[in-house]
Amino acid sequence: AQTVTQSQPEMSVQEAETVTLSCTYDTSENNYYLFWYKQPPSRQMILVIRQEAYKQQNATENRFSVNFQKAAKSFSLKISDSQLGDTAMYFCAFMKRRETSGSRLTFGEGTQLTVNP
């Protein structure tokens, strides 16, 4: 079974600064996907960024980037130039790659990020 661990229940950052959220996972699979989802107070889960395990290059999406270390099973999220709208719960998630059947998303416990003005 896969497990995802987020060791930082809460974090805070000043507006315009950079913050890094940690995520580690445990799996025996070789082909999988990793995701960061954002959940604001509205409860709507929003995909922030995803990474394919077979790609060595770290994914980036505007101010969001990841540091994917496959051997260490680490997948951290860096948010640059933090904005007040980034305040939310952030979840790291894992999904096995299946060509035809797909599989469940396994989530970490979440990190509550607060961006202070």
């Binding site: 929003i46 979840f91 060509e99 059947s101 469940r104």
Partner: protein, 115 residues
């Protein structure tokens, strides 16, 4: 519709009553997931439907929980004889079949309160 729709948004029920939660996925999405999120916690997997395959029910916490998906579209999660520990937000998500990289799109959830 444009996104995943869940109803009701909020549900208050008395302990021992049965409840039904509905999820209307994005049109054409073959995969559908149910998750439970207790206050301040992560997302706990409940059940997963993929096309015409047998659902993955391994996350259902007890036999009081069941789910069905009719016609490969709308899904209903049923909780029988509700208990206070069932109080949580129930989230539904859908995605395309995994032939290409895709993502799971979530609804806004149903907040269930058992009193």
């Amino acid at each position: 519709g444009a996104g995943v729709s869940q109803s009701p948004s909020n549900k208050v029920t008395e302990k021992g009553k049965d409840v039904e939660l509905r999820c209307d996925p994005i049109s054409g999405h073959t995969a559908l997931y149910w998750y439970r999120q207790s206050l301040g916690q992560g997302l706990e997997f409940l059940i997963y439907f993929q096309g015409n395959s047998a659902p993955d029910k391994s996350g259902l916490p007890s036999d009081r929980f069941s789910a069905e998906r009719t016609g490969g579209s709308v899904s209903t999660l049923t909780i029988q004889r509700t208990q206070q520990e069932d109080s949580a937000v129930y989230l539904c998500a859908s995605s395309l079949m995994w032939t290409v990289i895709t993502e799971a799109f979530f609804g806004q959830g149903t907040r269930l309160t058992v009193v």
